[in-house]
Each structure stands twice: as structure tokens, then as C-alpha cells.
Symmetry: C2
Subunit: 253 residues, 2 copies
DNA sequence: CGGCTTCTTGAGGTGCATCAAGCCAGGTGG
DNA sequence: CCACCTGGCTTGATGCACCTCAAGAAGCCG
């Protein structure tokens, strides 16, 4: 039996304040240090000894479950420790728009600060593990946790830049170009995480990619086929092999 | 003779570290208090007496000039006190993409924090006045300016949300729908600033709107004409009159 | 097995980009 | 003063890239 919270189709899409009994917490291995968070974010710095005493709770999220829902009260920022997620907005008519994909080291939930509630939803594409940076730690005055604050600034700014790039990406003229750029982006991501930039498995569906790039899933499929026919990539469902990185780059013009 | 810095056509599009002699500063009326910044941002709070001693420099920017350029070293965040601006990214081929429009109370430059240099460019559409929140004030540890920090968090988050909305906006199916939504957005902006939500003058060109919405300027023009022919709006170059707010809303479906 | 989701591929219609022409306002210089 | 130019805007004609609808294959799971 799965946890009923936030499974698509069974759980409410928008947060309603119904108290679900907390599952018993595993009592060990569920905490991360500030230094681990800094390393994950690739934030250039070392936590002082004092600050490194701070521990942050981890949370496991099964594929399909949500880390937070639209409308849910803000309870902190989340750093991805493991797995892949998508951030979406869900419109009144039920249609959803993918705003970004998040992998290890990415920050989520920054939109929740200003209204004190999340206005996006973070859905796990694979089984995930995230670290929560609680609002209380982030904003409490006089806590002296300047390291955390500076890091948060920096990480939020990085998210802003990521978002701008997404926006610009979905702007590019032709659909094949968008898909080509998307693949390069993914390739860079995997590369940064130590995986092969040539061969990787996409964690998201064609529909998600399409939503992200502002095209239909059929167009994504066709673009992938086209790139395959040009001998630039190999496609086996979600497993992508980049045969010629140069040709893929050349496509961006 | 105009100030040569960052006038389109005469200045380099991308920042290069050439020292331009500073113009003599006006010695008075050029400073804003923390409380004024808070009020501008609509940030819910009052600066303590101590913190309110902080003063932030204002800067006048003529239409067409830039507040900061792509690649320029990060020197702080900017709050719009007066006028309208656009934030753009400029691609290698010279084409530009409008990411957002900023008016009184909006924050700019958040993308500069993480790489310590701006990766967008803020161009004035009208004569403007902006207030600089210097990096040193924002990040200096132990300065005890927690009020400023919390405000910055909040304001940055608000920018993130704005950006997400832009992204979603440029996603909407049909071009006329996008333009209709854009007009409603502008209407709400002007309304919030105390101007008429029914009748206003757009500060940006059709090209800018098109870039923002991911359509061509011709399409924007046609969409406006279409909405006019439906009796929903009145168009006189950049002066827009909304005849039926309901009909405009109905268009969003 | 049957039901489900995901993905591919095809055929046809269309919304928008593209190219092109012309209008208008503002600025510049003879 | 007018002639000229430039940038912004509108409107039309044409082609094509993408959406839509549809059918079928492949994989997953109870």
C-alpha cells in the first residue's frame, strides 16, 4: 500500500489543510549537515565548526509523490539530494505547465517565500531524497547563521538564472532546435553529476519535455526521430545516446 | 550631449571594463531610506530607528540607457522608484529576448548574485530613477541589518514568482489570448500604482511585447486590432483603453 | 490475460512567421 | 521652411511549422 499523500489521481491536486498522521520517522541517517548542503549546492565555502552543528532533516519521496503542493503553507526550501523532480504550475482547467526539472544539488520552493505559501508544485519523477532548509532557520533574526543565509541568497539567484534560461530556451525558433538544446542541457547536467554526457536516461516523459519547451509531445517525438535520422543521436525510448555533440551544437544556430 | 554610457548604438552591448569618468554627483536628494525602499517594495514592515539610518543611493537613467549590462560585475540589486524598464538577454547573434518589464517597486538584478556578474541587461524604456541596494550591505556578515536581508529574500522570491508567471504567460495557446492576458497584467500593474486600470499608455514597443510573449510584432499588432474589432479595447498607438474588462477576462479561457 | 500509460507515425488543417508595402510621427539638416 | 530619414506601427498575401486527431505498437502492472 502506497502512502496516499499526493499520489496523482488519488490525492487532491491543491493543498487543503487536512492533517495526515505523520509516518513514524526513521530515527537515524535522516539528517544532513550544513556542509553537506553546501557541497550539494556546489556553494564555494566551508561551514564553520559551530554552524556545521546544524542538522537538516531529509525526506524520501516516491516517484509520483509531491514534495509540496500549490497553496501549501511555506515551510522551507528544499535541496535535492537524490533523484529527479519537475516543478509545475497547475491551471484552473487542470492543465499543467512544467517550469523546470530539478536534479541533485538543485534548490526548490523559492517561490513560496513571498506569499508564505508555495505557488508551484514539486513532483518526483523518480524516487527522491530531499533536504529541507526550514523557514525558521532561514529567517530567524539574530540566529547568527549568516553562512546559511548567504548560501541561500546565492542558491536562489542560481535558480533565477536557471529559470531565465528555461524561458529563453522555450523561445528558440524551431522545435527541433529546442529539443536539441534541451538534450545538450540534460547532457551537461548529467556530466556535472559525474555521469556520462554521451549516454543517459531521461527521467521525464515526452509530455513533460513538451510542456517545458512549449510544444506538444508529438512534436518532441518527431524532433527526436528527426535528430536520429540525421545520425546525431540514438533514441531507445528514454535512453538517449549523443553520437555527435558537434552536430547537436551546430543545430542551435 | 548625452552621457555616452550605454546609449544603444553608441555603447558596447556587453560590458567591458573601460573606466568612464564619473559625472559629478548631485549632492542632495539623491538618497533613499530603508523605509522608503520597504514602502516601494510593498514589504510589510517598518524599519527600526537604527536601520532606518541606512541610506541608499539613487540613480537617474535616461530612456534607452541601461542600469546594468550583461557581464558587468555585480554591484547590487536595484529597486525601481520611477519609470519603466525592460530586462533582456542578448544572444550571440545580436537578437534580444525580453524577460520582464519592471515598474515602480520592482526589483532588478537578482541574477547577478550567483556568478557575481549580471547575466541580463536592464534597459530604461522611459526616464527612470532607481535605488541601489549595494552588495556590501546585503551580504556583509555581522552587519546586523537583518531587516534588509529579510526584505531582500522576500523581494527576490516575488521576482521569482513574477518570472514564473511570465513564463506561463508566453505559454498560453493562442496569440490573441496572450496579448489579452498581457493587457490585463499591465492594467493590474497600473491599477496597483494608483493609475487608471481602464486607460493607460504602454511604455514598450510592439516588438518588446512580442519578444516578451514569444510572437512577432506583427502578430501583436494584429491581436490588438482583433481585440479592437471585437469592441473589447480601444487602441491609439500605445494608448490602450479597456472597454470591457469582462470580455478581456473571458478571452483567457 | 486485459487495462493502462507512453511513445511513434501519419494525414490534414491552420495559426503564425515571413516578406512586403505603405502610413505616420519625430528628428535632422539643407 | 521643406526634404529627407529613421523607427514604430498597420495590414495584406503566402507558405510552412506545428497542432490536432487518429491509429497502432510497446511496455508495465494488477
Amino acid at each position: 500500500m502506497m502512502n496516499l499523500q499526493a499520489v496523482p489521481g488519488t490525492a487532491p491536486r491543491v493543498y487543503s489543510p487536512i492533517r495526515v498522521p505523520e509516518r513514524p520517522r526513521r530515527s537515524e541517517g535522516d539528517w544532513s549537515s550544513l556542509q553537506e548542503v553546501m557541497d550539494l549546492l556546489l556553494y564555494d565555502g566551508h561551514a564553520s565548526e559551530a554552524a556545521n552543528g546544524q542538522l537538516f532533516r531529509r525526506r524520501r519521496v516516491k516517484a509520483g509523490q509531491s514534495v509540496f503542493l500549490m497553496g501549501q503553507p511555506f515551510d522551507g526550501l528544499y535541496v535535492v539530494r537524490l533523484g529527479a523532480l519537475k516543478t509545475v504550475v497547475i491551471h484552473d482547467d487542470g492543465s499543467e505547465h512544467v517550469l523546470s526539472f530539478s536534479m541533485k544539488g538543485d534548490l526548490m520552493g523559492t517561490d513560496g517565500i513571498c506569499k508564505d505559501q508555495y505557488c508551484t508544485e514539486a513532483v518526483a519523477l523518480t524516487d527522491c531524497e530531499v533536504i529541507r532548509l526550514p523557514a525558521s532557520e532561514l529567517f530567524m533574526p539574530g540566529r547568527g547563521c549568516n553562512e546559511l543565509e548567504r548560501m541561500a541568497y546565492w542558491a536562489i539567484s542560481r535558480e533565477v538564472v536557471k529559470e531565465q534560461m528555461s524561458y529563453t530556451l522555450s523561445h528558440a525558433s524551431k522545435s527541433e532546435v529546442r529539443v536539441a538544446r534541451f538534450l545538450l542541457m540534460q547532457s551537461n547536467c548529467f556530466s556535472a553529476l559525474g555521469y556520462s554526457p554521451r549516454r543517459f536516461t531521461l527521467p521525464m516523459t515526452r509530455r513533460d519535455i513538451g510542456s517545458y519547451l512549449s510544444v506538444t509531445l508529438e512534436t518532441v517525438s518527431r524532433a527526436l526521430s528527426a535528430l536520429h535520422n540525421l545520425g546525431i543521436i540514438e533514441v531507445a525510448s528514454r535512453e538517449i545516446t549523443i553520437l555527435s555533440r558537434e552536430a547537436l551544437h551546430a543545430y542551435e544556430g
